[in-house]
């Protein structure tokens, strides 16, 4: 038990020294670390509660996504049934209850219709399931229902794109080191250190940025539109008057067919119109430019509408064909809002609407004050514990203290290597870890005292003390680890930050408080062969 071969001693010291070395970059202020070119070394991230900044949790509107998918399938079915030599006449198309159902006029064409509908479904997931199930009801109606696998796949797909779009938009704002990660099936977590006023960021991320160009139907009387009704083939689009933001918007009738969309854009940028007002310059890609040129040639003299997320930004008249593949959106923009729209258009539209479900902003003073207070408290706590251990256990207390100090470094090092985040409850976790690491040494030392009292020899007492206490320490740590793991898995935010420190502390403290102090004690006994120990 007390026999430590030299190679083992060397290894233990090397490990501890490595731990101290790896902890050092995290202990230095940013400025000094970058001057010493240590910036590349792993460092501990500070949680938002310590660094200040904004934490936003977004959730996808899956109902909206389901509606979009249904709409898309309806459009596809309409075109597919009309395609080819044998057109299949369908009618009474409905999209209620999350299903697409339609009537096939000629019963003899039913099988062919089912065939065409099936051809529009795709494999979803790994099980070979289709994303829509096609069935026949009353031998005349075809009902298409999205399958669970199909819904999951479409959500997954949309979320991947949405996370990328959000990342692009935030990067365009030039904030430093934002964290953008997908959480669970339908959520995206955004953390931006240092950001104090998240309104601009929220406005940017919250915009779906679905840009559409549609022709305005000039023949519709505007009074019939106010109620939101539009003739078949048209839709009533709100046209807010930017100079009177609180007035109810008027409506104009636009054709349902989209002549150009955000997908046809090459880029969008901030520009100025002929009056020097901020505007958004659009540049279409090759196919977009052709589409725009054709549409403007065919519809000269008519009006078209530029719609963003369903409401009209502007509805200019086509005076002459536009062949250059460029366009400009005017409206009453400020420089900021025009720039934001340009960023949103450049990064593409969100495939699904995102809602903010959680939002936390911590001021920089609070974070700094918390770090300051946490450090002071940790230092005072450590000093108090160290003095207490020293007066209680003498030399053995000193060994325990050295172990605790090294343990703090090793925890910091492991956190840096794992790229873990230190939060305020994490600091509390540190203080508790100091306490429980000391408990291991208390257990050992009390056991040694006890064995001495029973009249055992020094070497035997120390051996028994470590052996018996180790079992208790192992059991206590197992139980601690159980609660730590549960916190890590189920906890959110602060609970997680606390659990990380706790779990790392449990592992490292076994090494420092048991193995390391045993090595020190064994070395001392071997060298000095004491006839009496003060403990």
């Amino acid at each position: 038990m007390l026999d430590f071969p030299r190679w083992k001693v060397i290894w233990i010291w090397l490990l501890l020294l490595a731990g101290v070395a790896m902890a050092i970059p995290s202990l230095m202020p940013d400025r000094i670390a970058s001057q010493l070119h240590l910036a590349g070394l792993p460092r501990i991230n500070l949680g938002l509660d310590l660094s200040g900044g904004s934490h936003l949790l977004l959730e996808a509107d899956t109902a909206d996504l389901a509606k979009q998918n249904l709409q898309k399938m309806e459009d596809t079915i309409r075109t597919e049934m009309r395609r080819g030599d044998t057109k299949i006449a369908i009618g009474d198309i409905s999209t209620t209850n999350g299903q697409l159902s339609f009537f096939v006029r000629d019963v003899t064409q039913l099988d062919a219709a089912v065939e065409r509908a099936r051809a529009q479904t795709q494999a979803a997931g790994l099980t070979g399931q289709r994303d829509w199930s096609v069935s026949v009801v009353d031998s005349t109606r075809i009902v298409m229902t999205p399958t669970q696998a199909g819904i999951d796949a479409s959500i997954d797909d949309a979320m991947k794109t949405a996370t990328e779009v959000v990342r692009k938009r935030i990067d365009a704002l030039g904030t430093k080191e934002p964290t953008i990660v997908r959480e669970g099936k339908t959520r995206i977590l955004v953390e931006v250190p240092g950001l104090q006023h998240p309104d601009q960021l929220k406005a940017l991320i919250g915009k779906t940025a679905k840009l559409e160009f549609k022709m305005v139907d000039m023949n519709v009387d505007s009074t019939t539109l106010t109620a939101g009704h539009a003739p078949p083939g048209d839709e009533a689009a709100p046209y807010p008057d930017a100079s009177q933001p609180n007035a109810p918007p008027r409506f104009i009738a636009v054709n349902r067919r989209v002549i150009l969309s955000g997908d046809d854009l090459d880029t969008a940028s901030l520009g100025k119109d002929e009056n020097g007002q901020p505007a958004v310059e659009l540049k279409f890609n090759a196919s977009g430019g052709k589409k725009f040129a054709r549409a403007t040639q065919e519809n000269a003299g008519k009006q078209f509408a530029m719609l963003l997320d369903g409401s009209v930004l502007s509805a200019p008249r086509i005076d002459e064909p536009i062949l250059g593949g460029n366009a400009q959106i005017h409206g009453s923009f400020t420089t900021d809002s025009a720039n934001q729209l340009a960023i949103a258009l450049r990064s593409g539209k969100l495939p699904v609407a995102l809602k903010f479900i959680e939002e936390r902003t911590v001021g920089p003073q609070l974070g700094a004050a918390s770090i300051h207070a946490g450090v002071i408290a940790s230092v005072i706590a450590s000093v108090a514990v160290i003095v207490f251990m020293l007066v209680t256990y003498g030399r053995f207390g000193a060994y325990a203290n050295l172990a605790v100090v090294l343990n703090i470094f090793v925890i910091l090092a492991v956190m840096a290597i794992l790229n873990a985040t230190l939060t305020l409850p994490g600091i509390a976790g540190f203080v508790l870890t100091i306490g429980t690491a000391v408990d291991a040494n208390v257990l050992i030392n009390e056991r040694i005292r006890e064995e001495r009292r029973r009249g055992r020899g020094i070497v035997q007492s120390v051996e028994l003390g470590y052996k018996e206490a180790s079992r208790t320490i192992f059991e206590a740590n197992t139980v601690h680890a159980i609660s730590g793991l549960i916190m890590l898995v189920l906890g959110s935010g602060p609970v997680k930050g606390f659990a990380v420190v706790l779990l790392i502390g449990i592992c490292t403290s076994v090494f420092t408080a048991v193995t390391f102090t045993r090595m020190l004690t064994a070395g001392w006994i071997k060298r000095n062969r004491p006839t009496e120990i003060h403990i």
């Binding site: 406005a203 001021g363 408290a377 706590a381 209680t392 600091i427 509390a428 203080v431 306490g435 429980t436």
Partner: protein
């Protein structure tokens, strides 16, 4: 050098004899805590009820009534105010705004911050948090689940590792610790948020640590002294581990005391909960879980003797 010994050698306190009193006190404490939580309720933070929270630090302590009427004048719903750490820092909680568009909560936060800045120059806003009802529901669910799983997991561990009586007594003692801590929060009206859930879980971890140490010693002594009466054996085990119990509790209280005094306002509720938990956990380790073992009929294991041995060698045999 004379070293400090908090507990004199060969201390022998008759803990088991005090069992009836301890159970009485435990019952009163537990019932009082349950009643407090039931009647007064917990001062749940936005993490658990949803809503908007703004933490404002004023230059000088404002009058709470004036502050309340200033916020009421904005017609943003019923505000709930509580001081946070010191008298000049207030946590202002408001219900979620009626409007559901993206900017609605920002407008609400801005209007409150604007009004307060105008009325109280120099006010600093430390934090602003908005939690929707959906998220807060999940946080409650996960928090309760975490506490429940932790307690159950630990009790199952003690049951598998030792006898079933250890599992039950541990479960009861921890349940008591959690309830008393909740009672403390109901009594003081300190804000109960996610950080406090972490504190409660830590209390569970600490308290179980304490119980394992004593249980481990009881088991060791049960093997060592097969003929000893259970009461005497438990008294012996608790007394033998008493120096360690006191030493560890004092060390942790020292560390937490430093955190309570110097750790800043954000950690204060957290630390207060933990300090109380350490005291309650130590008490329940000595009086509740150990004494409960007797009531649950834990018997020395007379059968299955391994090699015959005296007490002196017994310690070496185990492990």
């Amino acid at each position: 050098m004379r070293l400090l010994k908090l507990i004199p050698d060969n201390t022998n306190i008759g803990f088991v004899r005090l069992r009836a009193w301890a159970f009485g006190l435990t019952a009163i404490l537990t019932i009082a805590a349950a009643v407090l939580v039931g009647v007064r309720g917990l001062n749940l933070g936005v993490d658990f009820v949803g809503g908007v929270m703004i933490e404002a630090h004023f230059r000088a302590p404002p009058s709470e009534n004036a502050l309340r009427s200033d916020i009421d004048a904005l017609h943003v719903g019923e505000a709930s105010l509580s001081t946070f750490g010191d008298a000049s820092t207030y946590s202002i909680r408001l219900p979620l705004p009626q409007a559901t568009d993206e900017g609605a909560t920002n407008r609400l936060v801005k209007s409150v911050q604007g009004a307060l800045t105008a009325k109280y120059p120099g006010v600093v806003f430390n934090r602003a948090e908005t939690v929707s009802g959906k998220v807060s529901g999940e946080l409650i669910k996960n928090g309760l689940l975490a506490v429940f799983l932790a307690v159950t997991g630990i009790a199952v561990f003690s049951w598998i590792r030792y006898e079933w009586q250890f599992g039950v007594s541990t479960f009861v003692a921890i349940f008591h610790d959690v309830l008393v801590t909740l009672g403390f929060f109901a009594l003081t009206r300190l804000e109960f948020d996610l950080n406090i859930v972490a504190a409660v879980l830590t209390i569970i971890g600490y308290s179980i640590n304490d119980k394992i140490v004593i249980d481990d010693r009881i088991r060791e002594n049960m093997r060592k002294y097969r003929q000893m009466d259970m009461r005497a054996l438990i008294d012996l085990s608790v007394n033998e581990t008493l120096p360690r119990t006191v030493m560890t509790s004092l060390t942790i209280l020292l560390a937490l005391g430093a955190l309570l005094i110097f750790g800043g306002p954000v950690l204060r509720g957290f630390t207060a909960a933990m300090m109380l938990g350490v005291v309650v956990g130590t008490y329940s380790s000595i009086y509740v879980s150990s004494s409960l073992l007797i009531s649950l009929g834990l018997k020395p294991q007379l059968e299955a003797p391994k090699r015959k041995s005296g007490p002196a060698e017994g310690a070496e045999r185990i492990g």
